[in-house]
């Protein structure tokens, strides 16, 4: 009887001991950064999980850019140190990661996150901590309305949609069917597609969506086909749109298919195979660097980035890593002469002009924290398994 009584009490002690152990375990990883002779720049990307196609190249590109900065003597003689955490595309993890970067690693600026929801989740933290954050996500909610401490380097959906509709207008397309993926990327694209249609005299006749992991979209396409559009716009990220391309071919839908910049990587052509033929899409210039005229100011930047990336990682460059590369380079420039003062870095970012990066020429202003113009996108068509600039 005596023993029975003491049993739950022991249990209590075990719990307490284990929890204490947990805490100690956590704090062991918490050794404060000693060196003040260097600048710590935080990175937070979806390195694994659903959005790893964004986060993985972004992480690599940020490291690449930081290496370059250090090779050129650092910022005002101080080296740059990067600390990168993984969000797995999960807002809760992103919040924890940014908290760690701000409070534990004492990062003076943060690059990332990769996706719109994770960025929206951490934005208030950057604002509160008065730390510049340069997001790599596409959603326009990030910089509209403008938050003083939040910037972004990825092209907005607004520009991508405008590029597509401009092309349609020139081809005389009046009615479009939309097929968007049911996540933040697709939703943001869908909003823009519906909003801007009027300006270009285009009518949305059917509006469907698909799950990111769906295996077959013929049902949606059949429904779109029955509305008789002049063109179909698919808005998603790999691999869904590749399935859409295959299904379009299977259903023998003859109208042109437009994809978003979300599939702008050689992977898409590989996945969609011959069904990719003839597809139009807007993309940053990185995919077509070789095809650009020599007069394009971005050409040397792109070539340099591509060469360094492939050299270092022995893998083809993706269309998305450039966001983090630009962010790192822009930061390095903004941090020059700021002496690690966050307010000054922010000031420098906001007034930065004519920075030619991988994703376009950035001109930040007080009202525009994305800084890219319509020339950030070009329309390409897939022909014979390769990209071709559309004039």
């Amino acid at each position: 009887m005596k023993q029975r009584q003491s049993l739950p009490r022991k249990a209590m002690w075990i719990t307490i001991l284990t929890l204490t152990g947990c805490l100690i375990g956590t704090s062991l990883f918490a050794l404060p950064a000693l060196a003040e002779e260097k600048y710590t720049i935080g990175g937070i990307f979806a390195v694994t999980g659903r959005a790893s196609f964004l986060g993985d190249p972004e992480k690599r590109s940020m490291e690449l850019a930081a290496e370059e900065v250090n090779k050129n003597g650092g910022i005002d003689g101080k080296m740059v140190e990067t600390v990168i955490y993984d969000t797995e595309g999960d807002p809760t993890k992103a919040v924890m990661g940014v908290s760690k970067l701000l409070n534990k690693d004492r990062a003076i600026t943060i690059i990332g996150p990769s996706t719109t929801p994770t960025t929206l989740a951490v934005m208030p933290m950057a604002e509160r901590a008065e730390t510049p954050l340069i997001s790599c996500a596409a959603g326009n909610k990030i910089t509209q309305p403008v938050k003083p401490w939040v910037f972004k380097t990825a092209q907005s959906d607004i520009l991508a949609v405008a590029a597509i509709y401009q092309h349609m207008k020139e081809k005389g397309i009046k009615k479009v069917g939309l097929l968007t993926v049911s996540n933040a990327f697709g939703e943001s694209g869908r909003e823009q597609l519906r909003e801007q249609a009027d300006q270009f005299g285009i009518q949305v006749v059917q509006d469907e969506n698909f799950g990111a992991k769906d295996t077959d979209m013929t049902a949606q396409l059949t429904k779109i086909r029955s509305a008789d559009p002049d063109a179909i716009v698919c808005w998603g990220t790999n691999p869904g749109p590749a399935v859409v391309a295959k299904n379009v071919q299977q259903l023998k839908i003859e109208v042109p298919l437009y994809q978003s910049h979300g599939v702008a990587s050689p992977k898409f052509i590989e996945l969609a195979g011959d069904s990719a033929e003839g597809i139009y899409l807007p993309t940053g210039k990185i995919l077509v660097a070789d095809l650009l005229p020599d007069s394009d100011p971005q050409k040397p930047v792109l070539k340099e980035y591509i060469q360094k990336y492939t050299e270092k990682y022995k893998m083809p460059v993706s269309g998305f890593g450039g966001y983090a590369y630009d962010a790192m380079k822009i930061l390095a420039r903004a941090m020059e002469g700021a002496g690690g003062d966050k307010a000054k870095i922010r000031e420098n970012l906001e007034t930065m002009k004519e920075y030619v990066g991988v994703s376009g020429a950035f001109n930040f202003t007080k009202e525009d924290h994305n800084g890219l113009g319509p020339d950030a996108f070009v329309m390409v068509q897939i022909r014979n398994g390769n990209w071709k600039l559309v004039e």
Binding site: K10, A11, T15, I16, F29, A30, K93, M96, P117
Partner: protein, 324 residues
């Protein structure tokens, strides 16, 4: 036995106070806030799974209902969070009642399927009702909590708030377990037919526990929404429900402290495993399997057993025969 719970609670309070004043770094407070929120989820679900013996693979929906209700009421309609709290909890309870009525008639894996279906529908509603919920991109601009002049902005104050709530729910759970209802519940867990035979209204009881656990999940959702000030459907998907079940089972079913342990482990584990980078998932999966293989009754009972075993051995060695 009867004198025991207060001791546990005192130790718990001391532990919370100690950590609260010893830790300085905001990061740890934020981490512990998430642990606290997850503990609430595990506590509620534990009542359902551990005591009533019913599984739910859709509890993330209640978590989400709590979060979205308060988000919409406060950010869109300008309610005070404290007015939104009862609405969130009541709505989740009402939904749980309506859903539970037909669903709890199912049993075993069919119940799992039924609740899973409900969870998926909840997720789809959060995602697709974008005029109200902000859709997949999420809901921004949820105000932080305030009581008069005190703003729960810093990590420490929110830490104390969350863990006070956790303590309250722990006491509530213990009260419930030690009551007549609790005994009836355990009888359902052992054999539903037998308890019905001795006159327990099993359906009503199961429903009551289901509603209770949904209300606790909604409370956790409320705390989550006002802490992060942003919510998106991804936080309340099927995998979130599975994670909740895992916390309960890993910690040890039918034990309040087990729920606490499970929430601790599953929240902190990914933070520790960052060091493994690419191998994080592999190690995480291995640990999950390993714990269940070695300690099938969960960490809490398992560690208790190990402790007991060691004690017995020392007792034997020191010549203490007939210990039991």
């Amino acid at each position: 036995m009867r004198r025991l719970p207060p001791i546990g609670h005192i130790i718990f309070i001391l532990a919370v106070l100690l950590t609260g004043f010893l830790i300085e770094n905001t990061y740890y407070f934020q981490l512990l806030v998430f642990v606290g929120i997850h503990t609430l989820l595990a506590l509620g679900l534990n009542m359902l799974m551990g005591y009533a013996g019913q599984i739910s693979l859709g509890h993330a929906a209640f978590y989400g209902i709590g979060a979205y209700t308060t988000a919409i009421l406060t950010a869109t309609y300008g309610f005070s969070p404290w007015a939104a709290l009862p609405c969130a909890v009541l709505l989740a309870s009402a939904v749980a009642y309506v859903v539970g009525l037909p669903t709890l008639k199912l049993s075993g894996y069919y119940l799992g399927m039924g609740t899973l279906g409900f969870g998926m529908i909840g997720f789809i509603v959060f995602r697709e009702w974008s005029s109200l919920t902000g859709g997949s991109s999420g809901f921004v601009g949820i105000p932080p909590l305030e009581i008069g002049p005190v703003s729960f902005y810093s990590g420490r104050s929110y830490f104390f708030l969350v863990w006070t709530v956790v303590l309250g729910i722990i006491i509530l759970c213990r009260r419930l377990i030690d009551s007549r209802t609790g005994r009836a519940l355990r009888s359902i867990h052992d054999s539903e037919k037998a308890s019905r035979a001795i006159g327990v209204d099993t359906m009503a009881l199961k429903l009551r526990v289901f509603v209770f656990s949904a209300a606790v999940a909604a409370l956790a959702g409320f705390l989550y929404a006002h802490f992060v000030t942003f919510i998106s459907p991804g936080t309340f998907d099927f995998l979130a429900s599975v994670r909740m079940v895992t916390m309960v089972v890993i910690g040890g079913m039918a034990s309040v402290w087990g729920a606490l342990l499970g929430a601790f482990l599953l929240t902190l584990l990914p933070e520790w495993l960052h060091a493994f980078s690419e191998f994080e998932m592999v190690v995480y999966g291995l640990i999950l399997m390993g714990v269940m293989i070695v300690l099938p009754r969960g960490l809490f009972r398992g560690l208790l057993d190990v402790f007991e075993g060691a004690r017995e051995q020392t007792a034997k060695r020191s010549g203490g025969v007939n210990g039991r």
